[in-house]
Symmetry: C2
Subunit: 168 residues, 2 copies
């Protein structure tokens, strides 16, 4: 079982966007550059985050990304599901109904016990992810920071933040 | 995130082997045939289960597979780790240490909070899988069976079970 690298990139990008000043935007290039990852690969995940309402996209040459809702309203589960899709990791193919002399479908009124147990474990996984918000991560990060992470972030924002055009 | 099809096949195969009569063996062909899956694909997973001591392999033209330990001593987690490998699904690439003007490594004495949160969720997942043994699954299966699943299993065993040669 493996999560794609996009999950790590998406969580870090959303956490960085959570630190933006009001009306600030970051381009995909800046987000990718800050994390040392491929812009084209990150763009795919930013689109997924945008589709889920986690980030908001302002198009155009001076556009960019900002959060679509407050950091306390975005959980790790929201990001994982946006990037990896909603399907469970265990996908039952009902092989109990295949093979030599299979039983008729009416013999299987109860769900497969194996599928049920695997999905129970995934619910526990998702519950844990749903319990951690981006606001929680930002608080943990601030507590662990001796100041150098915040200083780097500020210097980066000074150079790369774009301003969303206010409506006339 | 996706578990390979091998996990479902491995769990069903181990559960079937748990019903074998004493000294009974099943060939990879029979296990694959019972579940309607590819023998060559299943063989790879049987090798992984064998490497983890979950199944025991008797080589030779009349050889086959049996459980390597009692059903109560085999959990879903044992099988998932044998087939999928022990690595966590989330594999931190420390992208916080990359990109524009990265901080020196000594700025990162604490583990990345994002990695820590993702691994916490995986521990919850693994705890749930470790709480379910093959003996539990067999009991659930028996309770849900109107008799037809047991009858099919017995007919299959009558035809395909091989006997392990007792030592002279």
């Amino acid at each position: 079982m493996k999560l794609g690298d996009g999950v790590e990139q998406a969580i870090h990008s959303v956490t960085l966007l959570a630190g933006l000043p009001p009306d600030g935007l970051l381009s995909a290039q800046a987000l990718a550059g800050f994390h040392g990852v491929s812009t084209s690969y990150l763009l795919k995940h930013l689109q997924a985050l945008s589709g889920a309402g986690i980030v908001k996209t302002t198009p155009g040459p001076n556009g960019g990304y900002e959060l679509g809702r407050r950091p306390s309203q975005i959980t790790l589960l929201d990001i994982v599901l946006a990037v990896e899709g909603p399907e469970p990791a265990f996908r039952c193919k009902e092989i109990r109904q295949q093979g030599f002399d299979p039983l008729p479908p009416e013999s299987f009124t109860a769900p497969c016990q194996i599928n049920a147990a695997m999905l129970r474990a995934e619910r526990a996984y998702r519950r844990e992810l749903a319990a951690v918000s981006i606001a929680d991560l930002m608080r943990d990060l601030t507590e662990a920071d001796d100041g150098s992470i915040a200083t780097r972030g500020c210097a980066f924002f000074d150079q790369y933040v774009r301003r969303a055009k206010t409506k006339p």
